[in-house]
């Protein structure tokens, strides 16, 4: 049984109520098409990651420039920010092209698979999956850090708080993207409102000459490095963290309303405009108030303090909004990771379970995988943003590069078409486009830029953690291909090609009963074996001489038919002697099927079940590894109602007999 549906047992009773309360009532498969979101909610769902990066991108540039040991070079932040904004515009235009070219979802994975082949697709996918996990870990850790700087008493709860927030975001996402969008749009729009209010008031005060400068911040000089081109590039690459998350919309096109591409493209442009405006605005204002990278206070806090005054309501609201958006940024990964993992799984590069939709039609396995991986990372790194940041963003820029390279290949193919010609492609059709050359130059330029940024990332951050990602991504790709070959092999093994039709032959079946002691359950096994009408015998593994003698005596008395074979087991093993016996049977009876029948005491509750050895489950696992072996479990139901046992045998007659006994005894 290897199917494409959820095989988990449905929750019952109180578990069902709890599940409904937390996750919501199950949804029917046919409601799938309705699980789409409006542009406004789409912006909140897919943009929080990208928008939240404005909270630290300017600061990252200033931190690197401050390595020169002087505030003189901090002014370079503005030209660097302008260059990053230009890169962002190029990537936006490039990804807008992708959204129209791939209306069913145009993430780096699909574009690479369509144009560059399986290997490139797996590389892009592995890079993105890694970065989605890191996004959750980084943004929740830094959001918690913001909360802790406001409430230092919470310091010892850093890791539990981060894990609890991951749990909360996970539950909301298990309810489905529509609800999670509605929940998460409030903080996203709150952050946007507060940030634009700050920028508008700041610019107004700057224009009217009433904007002061920051006071009371110490300049954190750690080393005095010369200002080199390398340092400027490093500052540029650090600031490029602002671009992370921009690919989210192209991956999630199918979550938008029809016309999907147009709605997704609109949302992308709105998001990039907001991002560029905020990023440049913050960088510009921070220079004019002479903000300084410092260990004590973030740039955002310095800016808000100067614009509104320390401790003012608006100051607190902006800080709260910034903390919130960082926590919400994790939600973007919750929208994208499961979709991308399902794509990999659908192509057979990740466990197939990732394609199953849970009760609420979301990819529950993907959500849980993301939650567990991010929690492990947060626990392992003690929720330290400093430790996580060097691992971050390499994957995103690798996927940018692969995706745009794929678009270049696609546009070259389109360039070879005649006017009006349409060629059927793997994912979407290739249509003639008179502007193909311009589009191709944009994609190629974007690919080169993002590749350079990725290389700078990898080189400048190598020793502080990037090496791990540079090892992890090839390892993941290797594992993905191993999984792929596994599924291909299994599919080939199961294939019925060249199999004769309607020619299933029968063979001799040797039935053996595994007998531990002789009790009501044993009689049921014998009853089943007799009812099946095939020849059978019984086997007992002798661990304890006294017990073996009792078993033999009881067998003779209560069963009185069929052979009882005793196997000795001096090392108290159960499985090994049975395995050997079955192997001998198979060798002495070539072609025959060995049918092993074992009893199982089935209890009402897991707690009761745990009080019994449950060796049938273990033996079952150990014996199904043998060829030409079939295992049957004959359960005996043990019901307990407040210390009272009703046991029902296979027939109602026995049940009545049993009840009769009890009423006589009581």
């Amino acid at each position: 049984m290897d199917s494409t549906v959820s095989g988990a047992p449905e929750p019952k009773g109180i578990r069902k109520h709890l599940s409904n309360l937390l996750i919501g009532r199950p949804l029917e498969t046919r409601t799938l098409a309705h699980q789409v979101v409006s542009n406004k909610i789409g912006l909140a769902v897919f943009a929080s990651d990208a928008l939240s990066s404005t909270a630290y991108a300017t600061e990252e540039i200033l931190v690197i420039l401050a390595l020169t040991g002087t505030v003189a070079y901090l002014g370079l932040a503005l030209p660097i920010a302008l260059a990053i904004a230009a890169l962002l515009v190029i990537v936006t235009i490039s990804y807008r092209q992708t959204i129209f070219a791939y209306p069913n979802g145009g993430g780096a994975y699909i574009v690479a698979r369509d144009n560059l082949g399986e290997l490139a697709a797996q590389i892009a996918g592995a890079a993105l999956l890694t970065d989605y996990i890191l996004t959750v870990a980084v943004s929740i850790s830094s959001g918690v850090a913001q909360i802790i700087s406001a409430f230092p008493d919470l310091t010892p709860w850093r890791v539990p708080m981060a894990v609890a927030i991951i749990g909360l975001v996970t539950i909301v996402n298990l309810r489905g993207v529509k609800e999670s969008g509605a929940v998460f749009s409030v903080p996203t729009y709150f952050f946007l409102g507060m940030m634009f209010l700050t920028l508008i008031v700041g610019f107004y005060r700057w224009a009217t000459g009433t904007l002061g400068v920051v006071t009371g911040v110490e300049f954190a000089v750690e080393a005095a490095a010369p200002l080199t081109m390398f340092l400027v590039l490093r500052a540029f690459s650090s600031g490029s963290a602002a671009l992370t998350g921009i690919e989210a919309i192209s991956n999630g096109i199918t979550a938008f309303r029809e016309p999907r591409s147009r709605n997704a493209a609109k949302t992308l442009v709105v998001m990039s405009t907001l991002l560029v405006t905020m990023f440049l605005g913050i960088t510009f204002l921070s220079r004019h108030i002479q903000a300084i990278p410092s260990h004590q206070e973030t740039i955002i806090s310095q800016m808000a303090r100067t614009v509104f005054g320390a401790g003012s309501l608006f100051y607190l609201l902006l800080i709260a909004g910034t903390a919130l958006i960082l926590l919400m940024a994790a939600n973007t990964s919750y929208a994208d990771f499961p979709r991308l993992a399902a794509l990999h799984a659908g192509d057979g590069f990740l466990p197939r379970q990732l394609t199953y939709r849970g009760g609420r039609l979301v990819f529950s396995w993907g959500i849980m995988t993301l939650a567990i991986a991010a929690s492990v990372l947060v626990i392992f790194m003690r929720a330290s943003t400093t430790a996580l940041i060097p691992l971050y963003a390499i994957g995103v820029f690798l996927s940018f590069t692969v995706s745009q390279t794929g678009m270049v290949v696609r546009l070259r193919k389109i360039g070879r078409l005649k006017p009006g010609e349409v060629v059927k492609g793997l994912e979407t059709n290739l249509e003639y486009d008179p502007h193909w050359r311009l589009h191709m130059i944009i994609s190629a330029f974007g690919a080169v830029c993002t590749f350079v940024v990725m290389m700078i990332f990898a080189i400048t951050k190598f020793t502080s953690g990037a090496w791990f990602i540079l090892l992890l991504i090839p390892t993941l790709v290797f594992v993905f291909f191993r999984i792929h070959y596994h599924y291909k092999d299994v599919a080939q093994a199961l294939s019925l090609e060249n199999t004769a039709v309607n020619e299933i032959e029968t063979d001799r079946v040797i039935t053996m009963l595994l007998v531990d002691g002789v009790h009501k359950g044993t009689l049921q096994m014998v009853k089943f074996a007799k009812s099946m009408g095939n020849p059978w015998h019984a086997v007992h593994v002798g661990v304890n001489q006294e017990k073996t003698a009792v078993t033999q005596a009881k067998w003779d008395r209560y069963v009185g038919e069929g052979q009882l074979v005793i196997i000795d087991s001096p090392y108290r093993h159960l499985l090994a002697p049975i395995r050997q016996y079955v192997i001998d049977l198979l060798e002495n009876n070539p072609g025959a099927i060995v049918h092993i029948v074992m009893g199982h005491l089935a209890m009402d509750s897991l707690m009761s079940q745990a009080l019994h050895q449950n060796s049938s489950l273990i033996l079952n696992l150990g014996l199904t590894g043998l060829e030409r072996v079939v295992v049957t479990i004959v359960p005996l139901q043990i019901h307990q109602n407040g210390g009272e046992v009703n046991r029902n045998m296979l027939t109602g007659k026995d049940l009545k007999k049993a009840r009769g006994e009890r009423s006589i005894k009581n």
Copy 2:
């Protein structure tokens, strides 16, 4: 299958080698009698807990007396220590009586069960089991604290170190008590040697007038309480922690060589003598050097420093020995907890698995239970001795009280015998004893003393953690009885009393095949069903309309016989619709047995297995809960050798056919 042997699959290949390296080669059951230890090793195994308490007992008395806020009353430590020593002598004499009365193990549990009934036995056992877990947690935590005070750099590794040491002790104990005794006797004797050397040198210098006084220690005054009788009693009860562990030998008599009782009694007397000597010696010397309870330095350290000089080799060796004995004290619990748990389990008050002897003939389940419970406690309490100490020792004194009360009851019975009379008892015979009245007075006096100490413990430590133990012990007793009633109920349900002999009837069997898709595994199921020769039909759960159509078409083509029933499942559930179908079948066919056959793809490795849905395992669990239902699993072996798949069908002929296909394809 519910047997008294280990049902875990035997390790294979590299796992087997690793297991042999860590745990040792498996031992045959008949070698069980040889797993006993000499008195010297028995002392090391069972006494390290009791002896290690000298490392803190004196200090505990001084800490309480220091609450008066003046050093003037610290001199009371000596009379209090003498009173505790007297109590220890009484308990030793009382337990020596018990060892001779119960040569097969005379722990509080057995004595209580034999004389006071099941409830008292379960109370004593629950108290002791709780205290054994606490002994491991407390002694390893305080040992780690000793190491950390010597090497403060290790502070952040406190919890991992404690857990790692628990792991190490667990592995040594899984090898068996003989080896663990040999390993642990070295540090025990090293501690004894160093402590007696310190005491002898100290007394010599005191006698020759060359022993100085402690300098440089601050008196830690936290509050100034008046010296009341209550405070003196509290100091007495705190110092009575020296008695914890004294019961270990009486529980573990069976680990001694024959004559067991004599050897165990000798070892008990030696242990108590060492304990009293060290405890009084330390208390006496600590008063003469004017040692003061302090946050900076332990009493043992102050004594060693004064006797040998700070930083001297002997000073360091005594501190190292003290740290080691504290770590080793945990080992005593590893010898006793599994034995006691097995006693409970043997009487059906704890899961029966605790009676299974593992490959090395030790009670592996008990050892693992202790290790996990102690690790959880250490992790939860952050390895803080201060947090754990208030939970400690109540259980031990409760068990002392119960055990000695039991002996009083026993001796009263003996008192009623005529000279020379022998009455057969439950555990051991009752023999006439002319000195029964003296013995009874000793036991009764011991019981009263330990009861008073326990009450003082409970009252003075109630708010700082003792409440938890006072809640936990009744809860455990309740759970133990629940388990007991469960086993009794099941035994009654399985009982064949009043069952007719040799009269097993047969019934109609309805065979249904669960079909997911149609592939080689499906054909095997059909083959098995046909070979069994009973009527059968197939059932498919339709989650996806396309897939259902494909399945129906393939069924018609490749099977072409038997009915294929399609059940619709709009919520993508698998188990629920099948359950309902089976329930309907059972209702429409009263008395019939429903035989469900399902396929299972059996992979070579767990990793490969995890890539498949394994719904047969889940369905199996979900369906064995129904009455009159039997489940058969037909595995299809999938072997992968470096990306290559060999698949063997139930018959060699199919195998050859499959190989033929491959050779044509390649």
